[in-house]
């Protein structure tokens, strides 16, 4: 204690109490480092595609079963980005848009509804007793299991696909919201109350913004499951979308179409996930980067 006490008298400038020790931005990494990272990202793809093309060219794999990118990309261009015949004919861009629209619409509805339900459950013991068991009972059901019911109730169309995605995320996100509300820092709630916030204002201005990031993160984690659910719905019933493309390929014994469909599923999934990550950073704008 003695040593500490003698130090205590030294600093006197109260100004320095809040030195902006975090204000300096990190220096950009050198170009060489970036180049290495870009190469590390690119190289595995080049190797993968190269090996694939080589295996086909050498006859180690059958081009009709697993056509390489040069084949199915060429096929997509040749066919003018249109696949299928007659009633089944569809444009590839239209198929992508249909699938993406379905997954985003279902997720957006599920997100909003889950936050409303979750906050309602957290606000009232009666609402909790009434709704929580139902939510917990329905949450474990795989989205795919809802497809037959969705088709029977809503017929074949966008609403069925949106319904599948909705039930796929809604119950889980409701539980996340309840958990997020329970974990809100009580100091923030008490701070709001000491400044005269009414219970309603505490929910509106403290708990709601505090749970948003956590629930949005759960939404993003659940995107892949939602994406798979949409594709499955398209494969079994809906007459268009990326999932339908793959099934069309099977029905037509068209390896190019199957591979093209699979690659589009991957690329579009990756793109939408990146978009959600971007949104998450916007929603979580107050969080330091990297969290």
């Amino acid at each position: 204690m003695g040593a500490l006490a003698s130090q205590a008298a030294v600093p006197t400038a109260a100004d320095a109490a809040g030195g902006p020790d975090t204000a300096t931005p990190r220096a950009p990494s050198p170009w060489r480092r970036r180049g290495v990272l870009a190469l590390a990202t690119l190289l595995p793809w080049v190797v993968l595609v190269g090996a694939w093309e080589l295996a086909i060219a050498r006859g180690w794999m059958q081009a009709s079963l697993i056509p390489p990118p040069s084949s199915f990309i060429g096929y997509a261009i040749e066919s003018n980005l249109k696949v299928g015949f007659g009633n089944d004919a569809m444009g590839i861009p239209g198929a992508i848009l249909a699938s993406v629209y379905r997954v985003l619409a279902g997720m957006a509805l599920g997100f909003v509804a889950a936050i409303v339900t979750g906050i309602l459950i957290s606000m009232s013991k009666v609402a909790s007793a009434a709704l929580l068991p139902i939510v917990r009972g329905l949450a474990p059901i795989a989205p795919i299991a809802w497809i037959p019911l969705g088709i029977m109730l809503l017929g074949i169309g966008n609403s069925t696909a949106i319904f599948i995605v909705f039930v796929g995320v809604y119950f889980l996100l409701t539980l996340s919201t309840v958990a997020a509300v329970a974990s809100v820092d009580q100091r923030l709630v008490k701070t709001a109350r000491t400044y005269g916030a009414s219970p309603r204002q505490v929910w509106q201005w403290v708990i709601f913004p505090a749970v948003l990031p956590q629930v949005f993160t759960m939404l993003r984690i659940n995107f892949f499951a939602a994406w798979m659910a949409v594709l499955a719905a398209e494969m079994v019933g809906l007459k268009n979308g990326v999932g339908m493309m793959v099934i069309l390929g099977r029905e037509m014994f068209n390896g190019n179409l199957i591979m093209l469909g699979i690659c589009i599923v991957g690329v579009v999934g990756y793109a939408v996930d990146s978009f959600l990550l971007f949104l998450q950073r916007k929603v979580l704008w107050w969080q330091p980067p990297g969290q």
Partner: protein
């Protein structure tokens, strides 16, 4: 002139299995306008609970708290609380954090910004108005939290170990900052701490608490001229006297815990 009195105040928390825990017993305390009072005691002695009762954040079990003669029945803008670190709203920038209480009261946005700007100017944080909490150091965050308390001109500022999470250097600077604020704004401060040096350095009075249940052991007036220095021999006398009290209480609590276990 504002006044704060606690009369035979008691608080009992519900515990598991229908049992209760007595946190505070028979607290009588009065604080006059402009005073800086430290509440000193070992961890778990109920001194933070006392602040929450005064702030109207928790219901009182027995006795009463009166601010300006009126019994406290809920949160009151005349007595606001400043917590440890992490009490800033991370989604609001500095200016909006400071203006939070004004927003709850329905003050117009332009007026809110103006008043927040004024206070930030006085605590020399004006150029950080648009920063978010995560961009600030621990010391700056606490300065913002203090500015947020000041903006509504409360008669009493209740501080619950506000510097406990800061490193030693920052804490020393923050203590001086707080003294400047206290003399500049003529506020009355109740300051919970478990650090004897901090209590003696800052306060006019140190109220020493016992643990389990919290009771007032002693109310010591610190008769030292300001600015104070840790190296002053009289400072040391106070420290020795309070240390003896604290040691006895810590030992007593530990014995009680061991006996209970």
């Amino acid at each position: 002139m504002s006044s704060l009195t606690c009369a035979r105040l008691g608080k009992t928390w519900p515990s598991t299995g229908g049992l209760t825990v007595e946190a505070l017993r028979d607290i009588s305390l009065s604080v006059s306008s402009g005073e800086f009072v430290a509440l000193l005691g070992p961890s778990g002695c109920g001194k933070s609970t006392l602040l929450e009762l005064i702030a109207g954040l928790e219901p009182i079990t027995s006795g009463e708290v009166r601010i300006d003669g009126r019994p406290v029945a809920g949160p009151d803008p005349s007595a606001v609380m400043v917590f440890q670190e992490h009490s800033l709203f991370p989604w609001l920038n500095v200016s909006d954090n400071v203006a939070f209480g004004l927003k709850m009261k329905g003050v117009e946005p332009a007026e809110r910004r103006r008043r927040a700007g004024e206070v930030l100017e006085r605590v020399r944080l004006a150029r950080f108005a648009r920063h978010f909490p995560h961009q600030l150091s621990g010391g700056m965050k606490q300065r913002v939290a203090i500015a947020r308390a000041l903006v509504g001109n409360p008669a009493f500022i209740l501080m619950d170990e506000p510097f406990a999470a800061l490193d030693f250097q920052t804490r020393v600077l923050m203590q001086q900052f707080l003294l400047e604020i206290w003399s500049g704004f003529r506020s009355t401060i109740l300051f919970v701490t478990h650090q004897i040096d901090e209590a003696v350095l800052l306060s006019d009075r140190v109220v020493v608490f016992s643990a389990g249940p919290g009771r007032i052991l002693e109310d010591v007036r610190i008769d030292l001229p300001r600015p104070r220095s840790y190296t002053d021999p009289t400072f040391n006398d106070y420290r020795v006297r309070l240390t003896a009290h604290m040691e006895r209480e810590v030992m007593r609590t530990q014995e009680a815990e061991l006996a209970g276990a």
